[in-house]
C-alpha cells in the first residue's frame, strides 16, 4: 500500500489556483500552490490569517464555495480530483480523505446526537453496516480519542461537550473510515492553550497508529514543532518556503519565515517576547508588484519591488526570495 515505493505520492497538488468572482474582477486567493504529502507523512501549512490556507485545502477536495473557480491539479493516489464528478468526490470524502475544521463549537450539528453524527459518517460509506454495529464502532472511536464514558456520550448533543471534547469528536468522526489522508484546518486555534496540547497529542497519536498522511494547517509555527515532518509557509496565496521542519527552524531562508519564527510566543522566557511582523498582509486584489512580501520585508531591495522571485534551492528546501541562498548552504 505504500505508494511512495511505486512512485505515486499519496497527495499531490500542482499549481492550484482558487479565485472568486467573475472574469474581469476575479480575485485570486490561492495563486498556484504545489505540495506533496506521502503516506504517513505530516505536512504543516503555516501562514497568516487570510493567506488562503483553508480555501486552498477546501478546493482540493471540491469543498470550495460556489463562487470560487478552481484550476490546477490535485491528485490523490494518482487520481485527479479537480473536475472529478460530485459522486466520485463524495465517495472519497470522509472515507479516504477526511477533514476537520477550526471551530469545534460550530462544526458539529447542534440538533443531532454525537452518536448519530458519527454513525452517519460510518454508514455513508458502508450501507451494509447495521445501526447497532455502527454505534458499537462509534463507541470504539470515542475511546480511541480518549473521551471518557463513551457509551453515555453517544446519546448527548454537541452543546453538552466542551470545546476540546468536541474537537475530539470531530477527530473521531474524521478517522471513522480509516482514511489515508487527514486535513486538519487549525484544529487547535479556537481552544485553550492546555487543551491545544492535548488535542495535538491525540492527533499525533492517531497519525502514528493509523499511519495517516496528515496536513496540519496553522498560523502558529510553534504548533508544528515536534509534530510536522515538513512545513510549507504560505504568504498571500503562494508558498514562499518549503522545507523539513528541522531545516526550516535551523536555516529559515525567507524573511517571512524568519518573522514567523520570531513571533512564536516563547513560553520559557519570563519576559513576554511577542514579536510580530510589521504591517498587514495584502488584501485580495491589492497585491503589490514584484515580491508580494516586499512592503513588509526588512531586507527589501530594488529588485523585490519589480520582479517576483522564483524558487531557489532544491526539492528538500526551497524558498521564493531573491536573497535566499540555499544552494550555498543557507544563511
Amino acid at each position: 500500500m505504500n505508494h511512495t515505493e511505486t512512485g505515486v505520492p499519496l497527495f499531490e497538488v500542482k499549481d492550484l489556483r482558487v479565485s472568486f468572482g467573475r472574469s474581469e474582477t476575479q480575485l485570486e486567493a490561492v495563486r498556484g500552490i504545489s505540495l506533496t504529502v506521502n503516506n504517513g507523512e505530516v505536512l504543516g501549512i503555516v501562514g497568516e490569517s487570510g493567506s488562503g490556507k483553508s480555501i486552498g485545502m477546501l478546493a482540493a477536495l471540491g469543498l470550495q464555495p460556489e463562487t470560487a473557480t478552481v484550476s490546477g491539479s490535485v491528485r490523490f493516489k494518482g487520481k485527479e480530483l479537480v473536475g472529478l464528478s460530485r459522486r466520485e468526490l463524495r465517495k472519497l470524502r470522509g472515507s479516504r480523505v477526511a477533514m476537520i475544521f477550526q471551530d469545534p463549537l460550530s462544526s458539529l450539528n447542534p440538533v443531532m446526537t454525537i452518536g448519530a453524527q458519527i454513525t452517519e459518517a460510518l454508514q455513508l460509506h458502508n450501507d451494509q453496516l447495521s445501526n447497532k454495529a455502527a454505534l458499537e464502532r462509534a463507541e470504539e472511536l470515542l475511546k480511541l480519542v480518549a473521551i471518557p464514558q463513551p457509551d453515555r456520550r453517544l446519546s448527548q448533543y454537541p452543546h453538552e461537550f466542551s470545546g476540546g471534547m468536541r474537537q475530539r469528536v470531530m477527530i473521531a468522526m474524521a478517522v471513522a473510515n480509516d482514511p489515508d489522508l487527514l486535513i486538519a484546518d487549525e484544529p487547535t486555534t479556537a481552544l485553550d492553550v492546555t487543551v491545544q496540547a492535548q488535542i495535538m497529542e491525540v492527533l499525533a497519536d492517531l497519525q502514528e497508529r493509523l499511519n495517516l498522511g496528515l496536513i496540519l494547517i496553522t498560523h502558529d509555527l510553534g504548533v508544528l514543532a515536534g509534530h510536522a515532518d515538513r512545513v510549507a509557509v504560505v504568504y498571500a496565496g503562494q508558498i514562499v518556503e518549503q522545507a523539513s521542519i528541522d531545516d526550516l527552524f535551523a536555516a529559515p531562508s525567507h524573511p517571512y519565515t524568519r518573522g514567523l519564527i520570531a513571533s512564536i510566543p516563547d513560553m520559557t522566557a519570563d519576559r513576554e517576547r511577542l514579536f510580530s511582523i510589521e504591517g498587514m498582509p495584502p488584501a485580495l486584489g491589492r497585491l503589490p508588484v514584484g515580491c508580494a512580501f516586499h512592503p513588509r520585508c526588512p531586507m527589501c531591495q530594488e529588485v523585490c519591488r519589480t520582479t517576483a522571485p522564483l524558487f531557489r534551492g532544491n526539492q528538500k528546501h526551497e524558498a521564493a526570495c531573491h536573497f535566499a541562498e540555499l544552494a550555498e548552504g543557507g544563511r
Binding site: L63, R93, F101, S106
Partner: protein
C-alpha cells in the same frame, strides 16, 4: 418536560377564565342594545314586552350578577341561548367548530408544505429564477386580500374552467356521513364512502389554499432566511466533508436546524388563520365559526359573540401550548424544569 407540560396545563383554567371575563366585559362595552336583536321594532315601545324580554334573557340583572351566572353555567358547558338561532350557543358552536378546524388545519398543512418547500428551494438556489419566483409568490400571498384571492380563484377554477367545485363543504346531493369527528373528509373515510371523501376534499382545496397562501408566504420567507444562515455554518461543511450528498445536507442537516423557528411561526400563524377563516368562510359559504361569528356580530347576538370569542381564545391557547411543547422537543438545548 412532563412537569413543564403539567404546569402549563395547570395555568390553562386561569387563562380561560381571563378570556371569559374579557369577552364578557368587551360585549358590555359596545354601544348596541341587544334588545333590538330580540324584540321586533314595532314592539319596542311596549313596556310589558320589553320587561318580559329583559326578564327572559336576564338583561334586568346587574352586570356582576350576569357574570357570575354566566361563569356558573359555563362550567356545566352551558353558554346560553343565541338570540338569533334560539338554540344553545354551545350546540351551535359544536356544530360549526369542526368545519372551521378542518379548513384551518388543511390551510395550515398546505401553507406550511408550500412555505417550507419554497423556502428551502429559494435558499438553496438563491438569486436564481427559483428564488425570484418564491419571493413573488410570498409577496402576492401576503399582500393580496383573502377575499379578492378567494373570489378570483373561485371565478377561474370553478366558474370559468369548472375544475373545482363552487362554494360549500360538499355536494348537497351526496349523503352526509355519520358525524364522528365533524371533519367531513375524515368522517367520510370512516364511513368508507370514498365518493363523499373525494367530494369533500375537492371542496376543501380551494378555500384551504386561499387561506394557506398568506401563511405560506410568511413561512417561506422565514425558512429561506434561516436556511441561508444555517447553510453558511461550519457543520454543513462537516457534513459535506463526511461525504454526504446535497439532498442529505439540505434536508437532514440544514432544514432540521431551522425546525425550531419554523415550528414557532407555523404555530403562531394559527391565530392568523383563525381570523382569516372568517373572510374565507364567508366567501366560500363555509358553514363554520367564521360565518357564525359574522352573523352574530351583525345581529348583536351577545351570547353567540361571547361564546365564539371564548372558543376562539381556547383554541388559540391550545395551539400555543402545542407549539411550545413542539419547540422544546425540537430543540435539544432547551431544558425545562
Amino acid at each position: 418536560m412532563t412537569r413543564y407540560i403539567l404546569r402549563r396545563l395547570f395555568a390553562m383554567p386561569f387563562l380561560v377564565l381571563g378570556i371569559v371575563t374579557l369577552a364578557f366585559l368587551l360585549t358590555t362595552l359596545t354601544k348596541g342594545d341587544p334588545l333590538t336583536a330580540i324584540v321586533s321594532e314595532r314592539q319596542m315601545n311596549d313596556p310589558t314586552v320589553i320587561a318580559a324580554a329583559k326578564a327572559r334573557w336576564g338583561l334586568d340583572r346587574s352586570l356582576p350578577e350576569r357574570y357570575v351566572i354566566y361563569v356558573g353555567n359555563l362550567v356545566t358547558g352551558d353558554m346560553g341561548t343565541s338570540f338569533i338561532t334560539r338554540r344553545a350557543v354551545a350546540q351551535d358552536i359544536l356544530f360549526r367548530l369542526p368545519a372551521t378546524m378542518e379548513l384551518v388545519i388543511a390551510a395550515m398543512i398546505i401553507g406550511s408544505t408550500i412555505g417550507i418547500a419554497l423556502g428551502v428551494l429559494a435558499a438553496y438556489f438563491r438569486n436564481t429564477a427559483t428564488d425570484h419566483f418564491a419571493r413573488l409568490f410570498a409577496l402576492f400571498g401576503s399582500s393580496v386580500p383573502v377575499f379578492w384571492l378567494g373570489l378570483a380563484l373561485l371565478f377561474v377554477f370553478s366558474v370559468k374552467f369548472g375544475i373545482l367545485p363552487g362554494p360549500g363543504r360538499m355536494d348537497a346531493r351526496l349523503p352526509l356521513p355519520d358525524e364522528i369527528t365533524g371533519f367531513l373528509t375524515i368522517d367520510a373515510l370512516l364511513a368508507g364512502d370514498l365518493r363523499v371523501f373525494i367530494d369533500a376534499l375537492w371542496h376543501l382545496i380551494l378555500p384551504a389554499f386561499v387561506l394557506g397562501w398568506s401563511v405560506a408566504g410568511t413561512i417561506s420567507r422565514l425558512v429561506r432566511a434561516n436556511m441561508l444562515e444555517v447553510l453558511g455554518r461550519e457543520f454543513i461543511l462537516t457534513a459535506r466533508a463526511k461525504g454526504a450528498g446535497e439532498m442529505r445536507v439540505v434536508l437532514r442537516h440544514a432544514l432540521r436546524n431551522t425546525l425550531v423557528p419554523t415550528l414557532t411561526v407555523i404555530g403562531y400563524s394559527f391565530a392568523y388563520l383563525l381570523t382569516g377563516a372568517i373572510l374565507t368562510e364567508t366567501i366560500f359559504s363555509w358553514p363554520g365559526m367564521g360565518s357564525y361569528a359574522v352573523s352574530a356580530a351583525r345581529g348583536l347576538d351577545f351570547p353567540a359573540i361571547i361564546g365564539v370569542t371564548i372558543v376562539g381564545g381556547v383554541v388559540f391557547l391550545i395551539t400555543n401550548l402545542i407549539t411550545d411543547i413542539a419547540y422544546v422537543i425540537a430543540n435539544p438545548r432547551v431544558k425545562l424544569g
